[in-house]
Amino acid sequence: MAKESTTIDVGEPSTITKSSSHVVVDEKKKKGFVAAAAGGGYKRGLAIFDFLLRLAAIGITIGASSVMFTAEETLPFFTQFLQFQAGYDDFPTFQFFVISIAIVASYLVLSLPFSIVSIVRPLAVVPRLILLISDTVVLTLTTAAAAAAAAIVYLAHNGNANTNWLPICQQFGDFCQATSTAVVAASISVVFFVLLIVISAIALKRH
């Protein structure tokens, strides 16, 4: 009588399987953590650059606003009733420039805490998004002020023969120099804002 034998395949002990599976999970976790840390590092670098750009922009905007605000020139000759004087408040566009750039400088100071939060928590999305939206609006304000002032400064330098608007910079040379400097500074701050928005956009990218 032939014996029926059944062979039972016994696999590896369950403990080994469990431990190996745990090892795999741990490895995955480690890899994920390393990737996140790497992403965080590169985003932290961007956040630090953002902070430094903001500091530079604060200096430039305060400079532009104060230079335009203090731009004034009085000609050495005068008549019995008239004294020839030029100040920023003689031009509504320059008044708009001073107010706008002062607002922009204030905004930049108030945005510094958000920038610091982005350095401390590089993967946080909300501060970045808030900064990007605010920067876009403020970029528009800065560009508007700088461009409007630039148009008037150009007119003051060159005049316009078609409309009989004569150049005034032949008389008020120092005043024109100061206003031109302020416009150039504001234009540099526009470039800084563009860079800030680009940095925020890159930092918002998911990995």
């Binding site: 998004l129 990007l132 876009t136 508007a144 148009a151 563009v194 928005i197 990218k205 998911r206």
Partner: protein, 187 residues
């Protein structure tokens, strides 16, 4: 087992919802680009075709005004034309975002280009606005007299073209916001 299935269903629903939301955003972006294009091209054409000749003239002088007499208005026309060209060229990329909602690099590229165009358009509109204000009001301190008392219809048309341009500026800001929100959304 049931709870696991329910979790999977909920997750898939959430993914579908977020996908639908991003597609809606992309469609809105596409429409906004078309509207902004029409605004900028209309502003450019309106400014470029503006001219007025006064009915009286001297022996050698004929009083005539057009946009090219003022450099700021020339810059305005060029800026609006460039931005309208860009908006048309960006439409295929915006269409890609409707079809493939998870694209990221193209979104970043669009944000960068949109910001550059926003700067250009704002500069053009603002410099033109400063000159138009001067044409309307003049400036007594510098003896720059108002020209809008003579060239009335010319001034009306250039003022009208500014409105379209500033609307386009607002639309570009909205486009940047939409792109930023789409970038920040987690899938």
């Amino acid at each position: 087992m049931k709870s696991g299935q329910a979790e999977i269903v909920e997750t898939s629903k959430a993914i579908q919802k977020s996908g639908l939301m991003s597609r809606r955003n992309a469609i809105l972006e596409f429409i906004l680009r078309i509207v902004a294009f029409f605004n900028t091209i209309t502003s450019a054409i309106l400014m470029a075709t503006t001219n007025e000749t006064l009915p009286f003239f001297a022996q050698f002088i004929r009083f005539h005004a057009e946009y090219s007499d003022l450099p700021a208005l020339t810059f305005f026309v060029i800026a609006n034309a460039v931005v309208s060209g860009y908006l048309i060229l960006s439409l295929p990329l915006a269409f890609v975002h409707i079809v493939k909602s998870k694209t990221q690099n193209s979104r970043v590229l669009l944000i960068i280009l949109d910001v550059a165009m926003l700067g250009l358009l704002t500069a053009g509109a603002s410099s033109a606005a400063a000159i138009v204000y001067l044409a309307h009001k003049g400036n007594n301190n510098t003896n720059w007299f108002s020209i809008c008392q003579q060239f009335n219809s010319f001034c009306e048309r250039i003022s009208g073209s500014l409105i379209g341009s500033f609307v386009a500026v607002f639309l570009l800001i909205l486009l940047i916001l939409l792109s930023a929100i789409a970038l920040s959304r987690r899938h």
